[in-house]
Amino acid sequence: MKYLTFATATLAATAAWAETPELIVYTYDSFTSDWGPGPAIEKSFEEACACDLKLVGLGDGAALLARLKLEGARSDADVVMGLDTSLIAAAKETGLFTETAVNAEYTLPVEWNDTVFAPYDWGYFAFVHNKDLTPPANFKALGDSDLKIVIQDPRSSTPGLGLLMWVKAAYGDEAPAIWDALADNVVTVTKGWSEAYGLFLEGEADMVLSYTTSPAYHLIAEEDDSKAAAEFDEGHYMQIEVVGTLAGSDQPELAEKFLNFMVSDAAQAILPTTNWMYPAVTPAAGLPEGFETLTVPTKALLTPADEVPEIREEALAEWLKALSR
């Protein structure tokens, strides 16, 4: 999850001249922050690999892909972590990624059989609000209400794209009408998850597009139980975050080792209370205390990865049309 976007000085200090092999992983900013999963993941992996793990935070998930395209085959990166199912097709189309043999006993709500990317965590998109608000029961009720929401740009952020796919998966051809109704509820569209959540916490909106797991952050990290995720009766769209190896990597074995590590219990146990998402494989010790209080949608929505590009084009055009007015 895109909490805690912020770079660490410890990263800047990693020895670049050492003889130990270096594995470079591109990811989103929040992953590498002091209070994100980065430091713990790095420590745990380096203990086992006799290598230097360099996590490079580069904005939001969708922006990662553009960065890779810009660098092309020259990229120093060995591994990319933080794309999601909505971006898998576009990522494969670049031809920059290579297959992986990683497999695990995933506890995802869906079957996983992608041979290029491995899932490391997942969650349901949801509108987060303060508990003193009675949330609407679905998008139609939200569109009819006076509630103010903050959403993310689908071109730059994975939640923004997730919302497009959500509305499309729930309403199909009715989606334009839903967006027309929602347009006057949207206070602003931010480029990433972080900005949107920040505005919500500042009181700039009644609800923000985030995840059903967001309230767990407030509950566990801040001992604040005032936030909740609204349950929508048309179902909730899922996000599965994935990690993959670049074909141009000069450390293919180390990269494969890292992918295996990410789905291992050691890494999976770190993710829930640092990345604030559900782990892809439930850790042996179970989910942390507090996760049982979260909203669990009764219906999960997910568009197959290979069908996303076509739907995205259409949905983006509809979205742009409704919101430019």
């Binding site: 912020f6 810009l70 569209v189 700039e204």
Partner: protein
């Protein structure tokens, strides 16, 4: 300014270095554009959204310019004819918003005008409907906040040029305030207003950070923001290049037109002269001026106060990485100052030696070209040979210096021309040429202007959130970027602290350069 009959030999100034500097600026921009075009796939073209962005950009820039100048007229008039305690401080503070880092200002504006900001809490308490700061209004509000003070300063300069004899004469003729306005002040305004309008219009035309934070999505996207989206999100280099060209042509041609009108920007000195105004003694006049000054001061100072207040509370919760980022920002700002001076001084010298101001147009390219386009272009150029990350800071420094170049030229050229016309013949007789000419004649006489330009560059560079947003990398984070990241990380207190630090550093570097330039210098 007396017209000199002495032909000034451009060679005694800096023709060669001037040409080189101008050429360097041109090359930096054009190479970047070519690099982007080379990677672009043909046939994308501009979509409906892009045309909407172009329309929005022009409309908001027009509104921002008109409102900024409209509000600036009464404020400048009131300041020109009133003497009160704190007037000098207020005039100085009027310079602050322009050099304020955009994201700091946005934080302040949100605290005051946001949905749960001070204004709306007050409105709600009194039972009035609340106002929204997002979308068109938000962008225009922020632009007026940034540029109204600049316009006020330019107009105030205009008022200072009116000889006080005219006011004395008008007083003897017992002109009423309104006929005084028509007869004395209006003719001056007609000369100054077009320049102020043009300058604000061009500045707002290339707006990025304001639209990024207050835009509100597809409804309020500027061209620069559309370029950013095309680069970063769609990775559509063709469309980004096309948009860059549109921006370059639109802003560039506006800037060329503006060049005819834009008044020279004079340094702080002289703005504290208050002429006796017999026409403004009436109680109503006094009340009106007082009201105007109070409203303007509140509009400009309350958001600043909000930043300071929240920042003080947030200072303790700032992580050490903020100081690391602050260090990097200071280095970038200082380097930008040196690069700027290395470009601006020879260019100014060359311009002074010529009749037409064609070279200054090259300087304006820096204002019209998209920093994001330049950044991406250089990324593409560097990528095959070296790690572009290693060049993130040098490219940022160059782009920052180029952004400040047009302002520096406007500040430097007029007094330099004056100096050359006054002393050119003497120096020629003494055989002063090249470096010696600079050292003995030009630099000492232009100290105040050089200091002012350096301060402006340092402050703008300190708060810039352009190229670095594209090259963002954990090891090379500037303070504005770090602040944005903190804001995105739930750390609003720490972000507010960083904002205060950023505010202090921006104003500090400006103050040091400006004061340094005027220190012990004769007025």
């Amino acid at each position: 300014m007396a017209q000199s009959v002495v032909p000034i030999n451009p060679v005694i100034l800096s023709r060669k270095t001037g040409i080189s500097a101008a050429f360097l600026v041109l090359a930096l921009i054009l190479l970047a554009l070519i690099a982007v075009l080379s990677r672009a796939e043909a046939g994308t073209g501009l979509g409906a959204g892009d045309w909407a962005a172009i329309r929005f950009t022009v409309t908001q820039a027009l509104c921002s310019a008109l409102l900024s100048v409209l509000f600036a007229v009464p404020v400048a008039r009131a300041l020109a004819r009133r003497r009160f305690a704190g007037r000098v401080a207020l005039v100085t503070l009027l310079g602050a918003p322009f050099i304020l880092p955009v994201i700091v200002a946005v934080l302040g504006l949100l605290t005051v005008f946001g949905r749960s900001g001070w204004l709306n809490v007050g409105l709600e308490f009194l039972g009035f409907p609340t106002v929204s700061i997002y979308g068109f209004h938000g962008v225009v509000l922020a632009h007026v906040f940034f540029n109204m003070p600049l316009a006020t300063r330019l107009l105030l300069q205009g008022w200072q040029t009116i000889p006080s004899e005219r006011f004395r004469l008008a007083a003897q003729l017992r002109l009423t305030p309104s006929s005084m306005f028509r007869a004395v002040e209006w003719p001056m305004l007609v000369q100054v207003i077009p320049g102020a309008l043009a300058l604000v219009f061009v500045i707002c035309l290339t707006s990025f950070a304001v639209a990024l934070t207050l835009g509100g999505g597809p409804r309020a996207t500027t061209i620069e923001l559309a370029i950013y989206q095309a680069f970063r999100f769609d990775f559509d280099l063709g469309r980004a290049a096309l948009l860059s060209v549109v921006q370059l042509v639109l802003a560039g041609s506006m800037a060329l037109i503006a060049l005819r009108f834009v008044p020279s920007i004079s340094v702080g000195g002289g703005l504290d002269r208050v002429m006796p105004r017999w026409d403004a003694r009436g109680g109503m006049q006094r009340l009106g001026d007082g009201f105007v000054i109070t409203v303007a001061a509140l509009f400009l100072l309350v958001p600043l106060a909000a930043v300071v207040l929240r920042g003080l509370m947030g200072l303790p919760s700032m992580p050490p990485t903020v100081y690391h980022a602050a260090g990097i920002s200071v280095i970038v700002a200082v380097a930008s100052i040196f690069v700027l001076l290395a470009l601006a001084l020879p260019m100014a010298g060359w311009i002074v030696g010529r009749r037409a101001g064609g070279v200054e147009a090259v300087g304006l390219l820096g204002l019209s070209a998209s920093p994001l386009m330049i950044g991406t272009g250089w990324f593409i150029v560097i990528n095959p040979y070296a790690d572009p990350f290693d060049f993130a800071l040098p490219v940022t420094v160059l782009v920052n210096a180029m952004m400040a170049l047009p302002f520096a030229l406007r500040i430097l050229v007029p007094p330099m021309r004056d100096t050359v016309q006054r002393y050119g013949r003497l120096s020629a007789m003494l055989g002063l040429r090249g470096w010696a000419l600079w050292r003995v004649l030009l630099l000492p006489r232009l100290r105040a202007q050089i200091g002012f330009s350096a301060g402006l560059t340092g402050a703008l560079s300190m708060g810039d959130l352009g190229v670095i947003a594209l090259f963002a990398d954990p090891e090379r984070v500037t303070l504005p970027l770090q602040m944005v990241r903190l804001m995105g990380a739930y750390r609003m207190d720490a972000a507010a602290g960083a904002a205060l630090l950023l505010l202090g550093l921006s104003l500090g570097i400006f103050w040091i350069c400006d004061k340094g330039g005027r220190w012990r210098a004769e007025a």
